[in-house]
Symmetry: C2
DNA sequence: GTACGATTTCAACAGCTGTTGAAATAGGAG
DNA sequence: CTCCTATTTCAACAGCTGTTGAAATCGTAC
């Protein structure tokens, strides 16, 4: 079945993307090398530059996986206000426990933490999550309380997925949800 | 007044230490270069290696500032159990709001996050803080609840001092304490 | 003054990095 | 077969990195 363009398109390309995503998540941005990614993918370093341009573009391409967070969040709060905290916590883990999304989020998180610049993480956390949550909140210090919710979940993600501190790293998500959800709930109202 | 050894000891040495601490806190470990530290201190790069050995040793020397956390924590919990959450939050900010300690902690935090290895941050967070807190706690999941307290404070530190997300970055510490302390308190008992 | 030790600098090494341009290879279209 | 295009590799560049050893500078003791 002949087609226009390369027949095996996306073969080596996909392997490069997967290797890059894994390395960015595991080693962080600075310690990820083009040569390392190429070797892990079994190709020449120049091929990485051929498909994706610079290292920063490779990073953007590899950690950009569709996250259903932004669209799902508003419903959580408006639907059942009493269990919104639990719903947020559950959604948080449903995303982070998926291997591919976890690797992508780890890459973005470590990159934002390494550079320390707002644009990277502002569009990541603030834009996608915080804004949606704060919109539906009421009372004083809406934005600050929304950021406190984010800070708690962010800290959990770091201790569990980056630092892998025990026992929080190996415990079942439900056990964490049961503990965190009530505290999130008190921030919401 | 002649003394044995160099009379101006600790002059350039101290400037190197300060420049290194500032750079590790501002740029992280990987993006901190010996040449950059030397230039900021107004000395030759070789002098940095003369006083401190390798880059890792320079890092250890510059971010090791005495933190009063470990000794102060046990008292906080045993003394007034009802306000232990507030006391912990207040102690947390009393350390982080001091510029020199903040720079040192930022350096250690970014280093631990960049490498992702447990030894660095395990001895830092788990050893110094979590152990002391968990010791005084009662009930089920002591360690997990202690780590959840740590995760919240860790997230606050990252959003406020690393990412500098508004409004949490510019708000008065007391305002954050007033909101965070009650949630910490519920984790304790 | 000379001598000596600490402080500081010069110059350079070997290694790794991102990146690039040209060359080689493949596999289907005509 | 030949041609063409896409895929892939080779070889190398320029730059920055941590690190080192020898040389120079400085201040004090004698």
């Amino acid at each position: 079945m002949p087609r226009r363009g390369p027949r095996s398109e996306g073969d080596a390309r996909q392997e490069i993307l997967d290797s890059a995503r894994a390395s960015f998540a595991e080693n962080g941005y600075d310690r990820t090398t083009i040569r390392g990614v190429a070797t892990a993918a079994g190709v020449d370093p120049a091929l990485v530059h051929h498909y994706f341009g610079t290292k920063e573009e490779l990073f953007t391409s590899s950690v950009s996986v569709p996250i259903s967070l932004a669209t799902a969040l508003p419903n959580l709060i408006s639907d059942d206000a009493d269990r919104a905290g639990e719903a947020i916590a559950r959604l948080f883990f449903s995303v982070w426990e998926e291997p591919k999304a976890r690797a992508a989020l780890l890459g973005q998180l470590r990159h934002a933490l390494a550079t320390g610049k707002q644009p990277a993480i502002a569009g990541f956390i603030a834009g996608a999550v915080l804004g949606r949550v704060a919109e539906r909140m009421t009372g004083e210090d809406r934005e600050l309380r929304a950021e406190l919710i984010a800070s708690h979940l962010l800290g959990v993600a770091i201790l569990r997925y980056v630092v892998r501190l025990e026992p929080i790293a190996s415990v079942e998500p439900e056990q964490i949800i049961a503990l965190v959800a009530p505290r999130i709930q008190t921030y919401l109202s």
